[in-house]
């Protein structure tokens, strides 16, 4: 059941992205930026947390989750340190993702060459 839920939610977000990509002149860069902002907005009332609870990994994978994680880390820290905490906690939850992306991208560029 969890697999089906994850499948449907992740698929649905991708479907939305595809419709925007096909119907407008926006590039993937525009669309992912838009979705990150959307993810942060959905965290305003904790809606995205609900999505993760219900759809599990399906809600963690789309780029919307990145916005939500940034926001979430910031909010958790702000409880302790106030406004300054927003800046302090911003990368708390996304650190692993960003670090691994930088690391693996770097390593890949050392090993491989662009093909075609």
């Amino acid at each position: 059941m969890n697999y089906l839920l994850a499948f449907c939610f992740c698929g649905f977000v991708c479907l939305l992205g595809q419709i925007i990509y096909d119907r407008t002149k926006l590039t993937p860069g525009h669309i992912t930026s838009l979705f990150v902002c959307l993810g942060a907005c959905l965290d305003l009332f904790g809606w995205y947390d609900w999505c993760i609870e219900v759809f599990h990994a399906g809600a963690l994978l789309p780029i919307t989750s990145f916005g939500h994680s940034l926001m979430h880390g910031a909010m958790a820290m702000s409880e302790e340190y106030g406004l300054l905490g927003i800046a302090m906690g911003m990368f708390d939850l996304t650190a692993a993702g960003i670090t691994s992306a930088i690391l693996f991208a770097f390593l890949t560029s050392l090993v491989f060459k662009p093909k075609s």
Binding site: Y21, P114, S116
Partner: protein, 333 residues
């Protein structure tokens, strides 16, 4: 040399003596594979970077052309080179070994015709051989005009595929079987189209303008030619060009587009067809000129088109200015 009203230049004695072509892997899988003098199985052409590969291809086409003509590099008056890379690095770097005067020209995908036209002028003036050298490379162009080659992007159906390869043409005043009759240099034409993923329809009005001006000043009709070719309008652009002529009740035939001739568009993954400076140059050197030599066609109008955009201008939402230069070829009796 003389010029006609409508700014068409007529040459008295400019002949194409020799030509050579070097093609990449995808072009070699296409219908013209038998016409290329040399081909490579991968985009690196044995070099370390794509940029170096493009230079290597262009140098090789130059060498092959000189070899065929049994000329030494000292015999050339000058080389006119062009490609799609910023600062024309492929052309100027590959001309290093020729050690003769160099002129770099840029007209995007119409560079081959601009180079040939200018070479015609030089040959008329100095009566010495001039070489025109053109190249483009899919990966260097993708990288410069679009995205990194490994970036996962879904192409729009109006996209074209930049051809990989190089071609060299040797023009001289000594009589040979193919004559450069004249040339009409293009005007910048901008119909206000903005979509960098659909350059064919942006460039079609430029081809329309140049072909019409050339025919008018030469007092010819389309049917005076055995073939009129455009450079890289490809599927949709060629269709739009026909519509433009149809609106004027002019029958644009016999007409073909090099972007559709270089590849098997139905089976190769090239979207609407080929584009790039090498697309028209490769078709000219591997297919059209051999046909002129064998007499299958006797009178050819060659009109490559170029979209003069950059990544910056596209990002700043500018419209796409386009250009087309026409070169008229005929077989000498």
């Amino acid at each position: 040399m003389s010029s006609l009203a409508g700014k068409t230049i007529l040459f008295e004695s400019v002949y194409l003596s020799h030509f050579a072509s070097v093609a990449g892997p995808i072009e070699n899988q296409g219908p013209l594979h038998e016409g290329f003098d040399w081909t490579y199985d991968d985009l690196y052409a044995g070099e370390k970077t794509f940029e170096k590969a493009e230079r290597a291809m262009q140098s090789q086409a130059q060498d092959l052309c000189l070899k065929k003509a049994k000329l030494l590099k000292d015999d050339l008056f000058c080389v006119i080179g062009g490609d799609l890379e910023n600062q024309l690095v492929a052309s100027s770097f590959s001309a290093r070994h020729l050690e003769c005067p160099f002129i770099g020209v840029y007209a995007a995908c119409a560079t081959s015709a601009l180079g040939l036209g200018l070479a015609g002028l030089v040959v008329e003036a100095v009566e010495q051989p001039v070489m025109v050298s053109i190249s483009s490379h899919n990966a260097t162009a993708e990288r410069q005009y679009r995205y990194p080659v490994e970036y996962g992007i879904q192409k729009k159906p109006t996209c074209t595929y930049t051809a990989t390869g190089a071609a060299s043409f040797l023009l001289s005043h000594q009589k040979a079987s193919i004559r450069l009759v004249g040339c009409t240099l293009g005007r910048i034409i901008d119909y206000g189209l903005k979509d960098a993923n659909d350059m064919g329809s942006a460039m079609a009005p430029a081809a329309y303008d140049t072909i019409k001006r050339h025919l008018a000043s030469r007092q010819q009709t389309c049917q005076d030619y055995d073939l009129i070719v455009t450079g890289d309008l490809s599927g949709f652009g060629a269709k739009m060009l026909k519509s433009l002529f149809q609106a004027d009740d002019i029958d644009l035939s016999p007409y073909q587009d090099c972007g559709l001739m270089l590849y098997d568009v139905a089976h190769q993954k090239v979207y609407q067809g080929g584009s790039g400076a090498a697309c028209s140059a490769l078709v000219l050197a591997s297919h059209l000129l051999p046909q002129l030599l064998s007499g299958q066609i006797k009178h050819l109008l060659y009109v490559p088109t170029g979209a003069l955009l950059s990544k910056t201008s596209t990002a700043q939402k500018e419209t796409i200015p386009c250009i087309a230069h026409a070169i008229e070829w005929e077989v000498c009796q």
